[in-house]
Amino acid sequence: MEVLSLLKDMRINSTNYLIEISIKDYLLLVRDIMKENEFQRKRVKSSQTIYSLLKEDILKNCVVPPVVLALTAMDVHELPTKETFNAFIDRNKRHLLILDGLQRTYSIIDVESELISKGDDGSLTEFYSHKLRAEIYIGINRIGILYRMLTLNTGQTPMSLRQQIEMLYSDYSKVPFGAIELLKEVDGRFAVGLNQFNFRDIVEGFNSYLERNELPIERSDLLENIKSLEKLSQENAAKDIFKDYLETWHSFIMKMNDIIGEIEIAEEFNSEYGVPFGKNIFQVFKKQQSVSGFGAAVGKLKDFGIVTGFDDIKTSIEGIQLGVSGPDFIWNINKSLDWIKNNSKKIGNAQRMFFQYFFRELFNPQSESYLNANATVNTAFHKYVSQNF
């Protein structure tokens, strides 16, 4: 690897290293992260013709547009120089992510596989020696890197905002986050403990916070993404908002555990209404709909100037009271959710909306049901009905 240029990106507070690297070294760099990092997008099942042409061009040593990588390691305190760069990358390569050029990388891997299977050592050696340019962003500002990812994807096969957030925060899913553990589907474990959360749900919730919208982001175009990042730029870009969001959510779960514990809904609910949304408080609040509602609600409260940020919410959480007994609260919230299930066009979206109203009312000091969980259920339900029916 040879560092050709080093530039500071002031917009995202990160340093961009332009390097020239042989295809052989590039493959050594990225092969493991593509295998291990499940957040790298799967190959786009698209036109075989286009990729055939690309592979032919790569074999003929065409100049491939620079691929863009990012190093998301959390413990980078000192940036490498041109001289120390190679060793630095080698130490941290498992934290690399491909921001742009994933499909090109797949094509390069395909060419290698084909040459190996043909036994064409001569062509393989020559192929390995071809040079490729790459840019590597090194920095700890994850939101800034997210912004860069979005602008890089202009006009190309779009990556969803959620996918990009998942990629950025994949490190959090690997190590315990204080007391908090984020579990991915590939872990094969369920988030049953108080301190365990589904990574995907948390990412959706954070997405909802960024977008101020509890609805699932199914497809996003660049313009939508840029708009949400413009909102984000009003936040302090140096602070890790994701961490604040997750810790605040965790505090809420812990508080609900303190005041309700593991009480389960009465069996009569099944015969009267059917399967409840959540048998206990964890099943209610650990679902994606609730997490997204929370994210969107806090975002909106912040936009309205009612709270300044997650710190205000964390402080308020301590004051939450049920307002009724634990069994009554669980019954009441499930009854509201059951009505929503039977009457809404899109149940998941309706549930998210309900939870968004719930958390907005719960944490709004101007609300009559402020910090009263049961009263908030009623307020949120009536608000949902009045807005939708």
Binding site: S46, S47, E218, N343
Partner: protein
């Protein structure tokens, strides 16, 4: 016809390659005429392909603002046969409803999804623009509020053939409108009535099923009519149609009686009086309700609303359908220019409430 997608220069391409990809739990759609077009539609429910698609038939209906959880078994009421399921298309796109893990529902859901991707039907479909890498879903091709009636035809007895057109009035009564080539989003009407636990399909009267006008009325005219007055005229055409049937039937019977009693002048006199009586619309309407229905119609709210309308327009109220409904008809037909402005809402409600009654008339009519 297969689903279509637009590419550059507004060229439309048929999506005639449909494959289910187990590894990604999605249907892959492509075009034989353009190999560059390939995309996935994810299927999030558990795939159950224990029965091949060919064993099923689906019909596309539309119900405005249908709830995702409005999922019901479909039964043929007359012969007591379970036919399949009816559910919103949204139920195939979500795991949140009550049947997402139901082992009896899943084979129907899987077959329906596959058949929707293949689309061999002649009804309205959307044609989105192709954007490589975009993940599509069925709502890019089908209208929101689309309802799928999925029937397991392999389970039908040999003597039974399902004809959806015989069940249109029954579906209509509950606000389910069979989709046509026209955009179902243009449908103007809806019904509040909800099914309780299953959809009992009751066929239309055998004496009417050859009448193509009923199909035209219920598929093409009434659902799309926004003008309340024209809506009322359409509904009343059903009454007119039935009365015409009665007129013909009564005259046939009278003619037969005349032949049989041609030597008895007193009986002939009575028969002639009967014929004269049947010339009166009101009497025919009376006869429809008393002699030509297998089940009494339920019209409580309609009666009250008609009488409110009549009172506001200084017309005679009535106790029976042939009085209050006929009086409304007369008032509207003959004195529309003089109707009280304060009765406009009442008239709207009359039209809304008379739609299910119209369906009941079509189902329960029986020539005697």
């Amino acid at each position: 016809m297969p689903l279509n997608i637009y590419i550059e220069n507004d060229t439309c391409v048929a999506l005639d390659i449909i494959e289910y990809d187990v590894s990604t739990s999605s249907f892959s759609l492509g075009a034989k005429t353009n190999e560059e077009i390939v995309f996935q539609i994810p299927y999030i429910l558990q795939m159950d392909s224990s029965h091949p698609d060919e064993e099923f038939e689906i019909y596309l209906l539309y119900k405005k603002d249908i709830a995702e959880n409005d999922i019901y078994h479909v039964y043929e009421n007359k012969i007591g046969l379970r036919l399949g399921w009816i559910f919103p298309l949204q139920a195939l796109l979500s795991k949140e409803h009550s049947f997402s893990n139901n082992e009896h529902f899943l084979p129907f859901a899987s077959a329906s999804f596959s058949l929707l991707c293949k689309n061999k039907y002649d009804s309205y479909i959307k044609q989105p623009k192709y954007n490589p890498g975009t993940q599509y879903n069925l709502l890019d091709f089908y209208s929101e509020d689309t309802v799928v009636m999925c029937l397991w035809t392999k389970g039908f007895p040999a003597s039974y053939t399902f004809d959806i057109y015989r069940y249109i009035p029954c579906c209509f009564k509950y606000g389910y409108y069979l989709q046509t080539k026209r955009n179902p989003g243009d449908i103007q009407i809806s019904e509040d009535a909800k099914l309780s636990d299953r959809f009992n399909l009751v066929p239309m009267s055998d004496d009417l099923d050859k009448d193509k006008y009923i199909q035209t009325l219920l598929l093409e005219l009434l659902p799309y009519e926004s003008n309340v007055l024209i809506g009322f005229f359409h509904i009343y055409q059903v009454v007119e149609l039935l009365m015409e049937n009665i007129f013909v039937n009564e005259h046939k019977k009278a003619a037969a009686k005349l032949l049989a009693e041609q030597t008895n002048p007193y009986v002939i006199k009575d028969i002639i009086e009967e014929i004269q009586s049947s010339l009166s619309e009101r009497n025919r309407l009376k006869r429809l309700l008393s002699h030509y229905l297998t089940t009494k119609i339920v019209d409580g709210s309609l009666k009250a609303t008609c009488n409110v309308f009549l009172a506001k327009n200084s017309a005679k109220e009535g106790n029976f359908f042939y009085d209050y409904f006929y009086n409304v008809r007369n008032r509207v037909f003959h004195s529309y220019r003089d109707l009280s402005a304060g009765s406009a809402d009442d008239f709207d409600n009359i039209v809304k409430l008379s739609r299910p009654v119209m369906s009941d008339l079509l189902i329960n009519f029986k020539c005697v």
